[in-house]
């Protein structure tokens, strides 16, 4: 009875040792090299696997950050604290202070901009583009049909009642999906810390802009001449603020004849009164 048991137990034990040895050998030979930063970053991420970053779970995001496909602050749930820890692991501290957000560079609200025709089709910017570039009078302007709103994973961009899309800088993670989706190419990344922007993308000449929009850049270059930091450039009939040199003095905001340059900051005179 006992002898009948000993033989199979013995052989099973031997086989177990052989297979175990094989597995141990294979795990060293076929080991996949993982950047040690990946598990470290994975450790500081929240671990909820919500997918809010647009990557497959926290593991996916950790790998993407290490591979350079995602910014260190890509986790919308963890916020600034997580971003700081991730940046430490990655050795990138500068990135944090230079957080970017998307901005729709158009202020062509319904009250400011003309319409060319009545558009009957599907309420989608890409579909409207096929119909003579959309019904908006300005061919560069935001059509307000919400393709960006639908693609944003963070609920950070909305078409307002005024008929243009506006980004909520608090929620925006600069993932770039709206930038790719916009058929007019008028969404771009701006530094979140800066408050003065040229809210116009029109490359038309001044007269053509004036015909269709009251708040468009008409290419008068008054801002270029008046900028004390000489940080406004001008090309293709459009002024552009080079954010690195901008001190937010708001002189351009005051001088712009069409109010194409906007400020989210307190107006200069208000600031003086308070």
């Amino acid at each position: 009875m006992v002898g009948e048991l000993i033989t199979p137990v013995f052989w099973l034990g031997i086989m177990g040792l052989i297979f175990g040895g094989g597995l141990a050998y294979a795990s060293t030979i076929f080991a996949i090299e993982v950047d040690e930063k990946v598990p470290m970053i994975r450790g500081v991420l929240p671990g909820a696997n919500c997918g809010g970053c647009g990557f497959p779970g926290c593991d996916g995001l950790a790998a993407a950050i290490v591979a350079g496909d995602a910014p260190v602050n890509a986790c919308p749930v963890g916020g600034a604290n997580t971003a700081k820890k991730v940046a430490e692991i990655m050795g990138l501290n500068a990135d944090l202070t230079d957080r970017k957000v998307a901005r729709v560079l158009c202020n062509g609200k319904n009250e400011n901009c003309t319409e060319k025709f009545i558009y009957y089709g599907v309420k989608d910017c890409k579909e409207a583009m096929i119909a003579s570039g959309g019904s908006k009078g300005c061919q560069y302007g935001c059509m307000g049909l919400g393709t960006c709103e639908r693609i944003c994973p963070f609920d950070a961009i909305h078409v307002t009642a005024d008929g243009i899309a506006v980004v909520d800088p608090e929620k925006c993670t600069a993932c770039g999906k709206c930038i790719d989706a916009c058929p007019k190419f008028i969404i771009s990344l701006v530094p979140a810390s800066k408050g003065v922007h040229v809210d116009c993308s029109s490359k038309d000449k001044g007269k053509d802009v004036k015909d269709v929009c009251t708040v468009g850049c008409i290419g008068c270059q008054i801002c270029v001449k008046n900028c004390p930091e000489k940080t406004i450039s001008f090309a293709n009939n459009l002024a552009k603020i080079e954010y690195a040199g901008c001190t937010e003095c708001q002189i351009c905001v005051q001088k712009c004849p069409t109010k194409a340059i906007n400020s989210q900051l307190k107006k200069l005179d208000e600031a003086a009164n308070s």
Partner: protein
């Protein structure tokens, strides 16, 4: 002569409305005060303007220099003074660099315009050069340069030339009038194309709702072995290139391939007539036939218009609007492009100007897909429009690609037949654009 009958699978039978202009006499539009000639009259690179403000030009003089292989020169359609070279509104909805000429009403013909001889004495290359220099493009609507079409790569053997006289778009009678009035030009142009390609077999496909045109063309054909007429079943989109090839030759153009892969070159009858003019008189392509029709036009007409004539002038020639137009379309109702202004010029692609009143232009609010499968039944290229559209609306363009969205010919049969009035073809067009954009990005 023996006339063969044939057709293709699928398609629809829209209300043709051709009787509005069918029996009207083709006549030239009164000379326009000014013409606006955009430097983009063809598919491919736009031309560079060769004239400047103040220059005097003559009819047929070259004013636009071609830019690249898929490009053809542009010629002045009237004589007079260039009053400006500036961006003007183009029927595509964008502003395009255009040459504006004030007509001196003298119709002075340029010295460059002279008869080139007859087909027998010209070499194939000479004919091809004449076609290129005359600025001839496909007049069916795609405006693809004809000399490119007639220059197949050496490994592609061309067996037939098929002339497209189907004119399956409702309302339009442009090609119908052309074939009735100038059948000999159509046949002569086809002979020139056969000579260029060095082959000896051509077909002319005409829908059977144009019996007079079929008769006129058969009378003009001298050599029955060389050129045959096909009477095609009246059905939309019979004039679509690939459907026409299937109907006439029985061949099918492979997915993603061009007609030349099936050994066929297809060209519009208008293009053939333009080639004939370029050889016989030397006059480049400076005018075309335009059908001005629809429920909002007082007196629908078929007019010969100089390229660059304003659409507003054309409509005035037809007595103006009978009522407020709800929609003005450049082309036919199925594939034409709705316009937001009538201050646009007639271009080489303008086969018709269709003005619809509120009742005719009414679009029902789309509702949900009921999975009836009618769009699948009518699709002439055997696609499943409902699924492509569904995935396109969700933004899943890879799935659209795997459902062969790129083979869609955008005929609009699916949108027409859809009982839920879903805008199938426009969402498929979005998918096609996105697929092309993604493949450029290398995704």
């Amino acid at each position: 002569m023996d006339i063969k009958h044939s057709t293709f699978k699928g398609g629809i039978h829209p209300s043709y409305q051709k009787e509005l202009t069918k029996n009207k006499v083709l006549r030239p539009v009164s000379p326009p005060e000014t013409v606006v000639i955009p430097m983009s009259l063809h598919i491919g690179a736009p031309c560079n303007p060769m004239v400047k403000k103040g220059d005097l030009v003559k009819v047929g003089q070259r004013i636009g220099e071609p830019n690249g292989f898929v490009s053809v020169p542009i010629h002045a359609s009237v004589s007079g003074e260039v009053i400006s070279v500036e961006p003007r509104l183009h029927p595509n909805g964008q502003k395009v660099m255009s040459v504006v000429i004030k007509n001196d009403m003298q119709e002075t013909i340029s010295e460059e315009v002279k008869a080139k001889g007859d087909i027998d004495s010209l070499s194939p290359q000479e004919i091809k050069d004449i076609i290129f220099n005359a600025g001839i493009v496909g007049l069916g609507g795609a405006t693809f340069p004809t000399h490119v079409k007639l220059s197949p790569p050496p490994d592609k053997k061309i067996d037939f030339v098929v002339l497209n006289g189907a004119e399956c778009e409702p309302y339009l009678t442009t090609d119908d009038h052309l074939m009735n009035e100038y059948p000999e030009k159509v046949v002569h142009g086809l002979q020139a194309m056969l000579k260029v390609l060095g082959i000896n077999k051509g077909f002319i496909g005409i829908e059977d709702n144009k019996p007079e045109a079929i008769e006129a063309i058969s009378k003009a054909i001298t050599d029955n072995d060389q050129i045959e007429i096909y009477s095609l079943h009246t059905k939309y989109p019979q004039g679509s290139e690939k459907q026409l090839i299937t109907a006439v030759t029985g061949r099918e153009v492979p997915s993603g391939a061009l007609p030349m892969d099936a050994g066929v070159v297809v060209s519009n009858v208008g293009t053939a007539a333009a080639i004939s003019d370029a050889i016989k008189t030397g006059m480049p392509l400076v005018e075309r036939i335009v059908t001005v029709t629809g429920s909002a036009v007082k007196d629908p007409q078929v007019l010969t218009a100089k390229i660059g004539t304003m659409v507003r002038d054309l409509i005035e020639e037809c007595g103006g609007f009978s009522e407020q137009p709800e929609k003005v379309i450049n082309g036919g109702p199925m594939m034409g492009i709705a316009q937001f202004s009538i201050d646009i010029p007639v271009i080489k692609a303008t086969s018709g100007i269709l003005c619809l009143n509120k009742k005719d232009a009414y679009v029902k609010e789309p509702s949900l897909c009921i999975r009836c499968g009618k769009c699948v039944e009518v699709c002439p290229v055997n696609l499943m429009p409902l699924y492509i559209s569904e995935h396109s609306l969700k933004g899943d363009y890879d799935k659209c690609k795997s459902l062969h969205a790129m083979d869609c010919v955008e005929c609009g049969s699916c949108s027409y037949i859809c009982p839920a009035k879903r805008t199938l073809v426009s969402s498929i067009r979005v998918a096609k654009r996105e697929i092309v954009a993604n493949s450029r990005k290398g995704k």
